[in-house]
């Protein structure tokens, strides 16, 4: 859809006229970059993805509170309202929050929170707080935002145990986003291996590999992954479960990649430009490095970027069902476990916020993949 949208809006025919000499001198990758830059939605998505991964790399910097700490006074607290106007109606340039006080409704046993308007707590940026190690190496205590004690800032509210959902979401992004990436890399390795074998040898090897792939594709993915992930021994540590899960993702997802790799290899092998290179007496190695790899690489980037969202969704779904990542490790799916029934959902709908991150990530990867697909073939008008 987007490809068409883009190609109509930025009609390539018109642009061809405008191209100056640099267009004809540009290398393939420069052309790809030019075309990609014109795809605005994909550009925005790329920025969103960079931002999300910065969360995954520096969750401590973004988080407001210790994500394991239980604030007993603030169990199931709703998100703080960030204000500019105080209770008297005065405007403050620096945004602030009010501290919340808890009241237990004795009839419904529901906790009600009211804002304590006696004191304002301005949001301070790049504030010093809980010490942590940046990337596990550099010791620091600077956080993006924070408020003065004794108030506690809950941008996304808190869960049943009074843990800050915002900080937990930030920390969860580390597992959720990296597992998508690692799963993609490992199924890519398997996919290239088997797809390559299949495409290179051809004949009966090809038929066998293709049949195996067809078979694996026909097993419903989620039940298969569930069965594999549930086989992890209960005494495994979070790290072992994490890597085990990556392997499960790879095992279940490589067939699609292998199929794509093989198809593209076969297509490229017969392509005219490869034939032309062969006729002009170019060596095999040269053909592979100079012609096959570049066209193949751009294709692979597209396939890979489109395969990440599926993995993230799978991790979320399995962790949600309590078969994937195990607490105390947090992923978006683990956080969503709290929102499993209608009762807790109707009382604290903010527990669904981690799901928004899943949606945004998946959308961004899809748009990025779309943009890359257009850009990958820069000569196509």
């Amino acid at each position: 859809m987007l490809r068409r949208l883009a190609s109509r809006r930025f009609s390539p025919v018109k642009q061809a006229v405008q191209y100056d000499e640099s267009y004809y001198l540009a290398s393939q990758w420069q052309l790809i970059w030019r075309k990609f830059r014109r795809h605005r939605l994909a550009m925005v998505s790329a920025l969103v993805i960079i931002f999300l991964y910065s969360m995954a790399i520096f969750p401590e910097f973004y988080s407001v509170n210790d994500h394991h700490k239980r604030h007993v006074k603030y169990a199931k607290a709703p998100p703080n309202t960030i204000r500019f106007l105080d209770a008297e109606g005065n405007f403050h340039l620096q945004p602030f929050i009010y501290d919340m006080t808890q009241e237990l409704d004795m009839d419904t046993l529901k906790r009600n929170y009211t804002d304590d308007t006696s004191r304002r707590y301005p949001l301070r940026f790049f504030v010093r707080g809980l010490p942590y190690k940046l990337l596990g190496l550099i010791e620091t205590d600077i956080h993006l935002v924070g408020v003065d004690e004794p108030a506690v800032f809950f941008p996304f509210g808190s869960d049943e145990l009074g843990r800050d959902l915002f900080s937990r979401t930030m920390h969860a992004s580390r597992i959720s986003l990296s597992i998508g990436f690692l799963g993609m890399v490992s199924s890519f390795c398997l996919g290239c291996l088997f797809g390559g074998i299949s495409g290179y040898f051809g004949g009966s090897v090809d038929i066998v590999v293709q049949r195996v792939i067809e078979f694996l594709v026909s097993i419903p993915q989620i039940p298969l992954m569930m069965a594999l992930a549930a086989a992890f021994p209960p005494e495994w540590s979070s790290v072992q479960v994490y890597f085990g899960f990556t392997i499960v993702l790879a095992v279940v997802n490589w067939p699609q990649l292998a199929r794509a790799v093989r198809g593209k290899l076969l297509e490229l092998r017969e392509a005219d430009f490869v034939m032309a290179a062969r006729i002009s007496n170019m060596g095999d190695m040269n053909i592979i490095v100079k012609h096959l790899l570049p066209s193949f690489a751009s294709f692979l980037i597209v396939v890979l970027s489109l395969s990440v969202p599926g993995m993230i969704l799978a991790e979320t779904a399995l962790s949600f069902l309590q078969i994937g990542i195990r607490p105390p490790a947090v992923s978006w799916g683990v956080l969503l476990q709290d929102a499993q029934n209608i009762r807790s959902l109707s009382q604290s709908p903010w527990l669904l916020i981690p799901g928004l991150f899943v949606i945004v990530t998946v959308l961004a990867f899809n748009f990025l993949g779309d943009g890359l697909r257009d850009a990958a073939d820069p000569y196509k008008q």
Partner: protein, 331 residues
């Protein structure tokens, strides 16, 4: 044509045999064997087993045999319709899965019907009305549909129904029909509860299908045969449905093969959230409690039915598309 169908059926039998191997691997996969799980359960319940008793059980389940022999033993049992014993339910697996599998496939098939019924008209409309308001809305909703995890969609729908109508839409039956025998009233009650799971399960597939149909149809609409037909004075509606739509439906028919596994997958999670009595939640529970025979048998049946679905869609594709018929039946 006949030889192709025959060939495909033979291949299906081969696939089903592969399914049995995968299932067996999954039964064998968890650390420790199911007997030790069973014994530890009994010990937790305060029962002690003597060593002779354990040995007898080991021999009964064939745990003293090498893996390959165990496989053939198990395979023979499966062929006779014995799938082992569910420790969690304290019943033979065979007795507890039937109704759940039937409901699972009812939902999957109805979701497929929903997907087609919604995706095909909308896909055609948005391709013929490119860049219209409806087209933009459909594309936007479609992308959101692809990106929202199924279980979240289910949760959101539950939440909205609860907040605005005070309805609790979980389950497949109202409480009074839960244990009632099947009759017309119970079926009617089921019909009331089915739409939510069907919509939730079908959404992702619908979004994808609209996207594919719109893309292919737009390509086809610009082809010369359309211009030729138009210049000969064929009416727009007749033209549209006689040529380009037929061609554009092709990827959808071949997509049936993956649609089915996808529907089963998304059905599993949706059913968990909505508390539906289908195979999905049963399997999740069996996996959590390490009730290996039950979970593996469920996986096996779900896969078997998917393989059958795939075969049917392959044969259907040959029936629908003359080009593929020529190519496939030639060799």
């Amino acid at each position: 044509m006949k030889s192709y169908v025959f060939q495909r059926l033979v291949y299906m039998v081969f696939l089903l045999w592969l399914v049995s191997i995968v299932t067996f691997v999954i039964i064998e996969l968890p650390p420790g064997d199911y007997l030790s799980t069973y014994i530890s359960r009994l010990e937790q319940a305060g029962q002690d087993l003597s060593d002779e008793e354990v040995d007898r059980l080991r021999a009964q389940y064939g745990l003293d045999l090498p893996t390959t022999l165990r496989y053939f033993r198990w395979f023979g049992q499966v062929l006779r319709g014995e799938f082992g014993f569910s420790f969690d339910w304290q019943q033979p697996v065979r007795d507890i899965i039937g109704e759940r599998l039937a409901l699972t496939f009812t939902i999957a098939i109805l979701s497929a019907v929903f997907t087609f019924a919604v995706a095909i008209p909308i896909g055609i409309y948005s391709a013929t009305h490119q860049y219209s308001l409806v087209d933009y809305i459909v594309s936007f909703v479609g992308f959101i549909g692809l990106a929202i995890p199924n279980f979240m969609l289910a949760l959101i729908m539950l939440y909205i129904a609860w907040k605005s109508y005070g309805l609790n839409l979980t389950g497949l039956f109202s409480p009074e029909y839960l244990d009632a025998p099947w009759n017309l009233a119970k079926i009617g009650d089921l019909m009331l509860h089915l739409p939510i799971p069907i919509i939730v399960v079908g959404t992702a597939g619908t979004a994808g299908m609209i996207r594919v149909l719109r893309g292919t149809l737009l390509d086809e609409l610009n082809k010369q045969y359309v211009i030729t037909a138009r210049s000969k004075g064929v009416g727009e509606v007749k033209l549209l449905f006689k040529y380009p739509v037929r061609v554009a439906l092709n990827p959808i028919v071949s997509g049936l093969a993956w649609l089915f596994p996808a529907l089963i997958s998304s059905g599993t999670i949706t059913a968990w959230v909505l508390g539906l009595p289908t195979a999905g939640p049963m399997m999740v529970r069996a996996l959590i409690t390490q009730d290996t025979f039950l979970s593996a048998t469920l996986l096996m049946f779900v896969t078997i039915l998917t393989v059958i679905g795939t075969t049917v869609s392959d044969i259907l594709l040959v029936v629908v598309d003359p080009r593929i018929r020529m190519e496939r039946t030639a060799n």
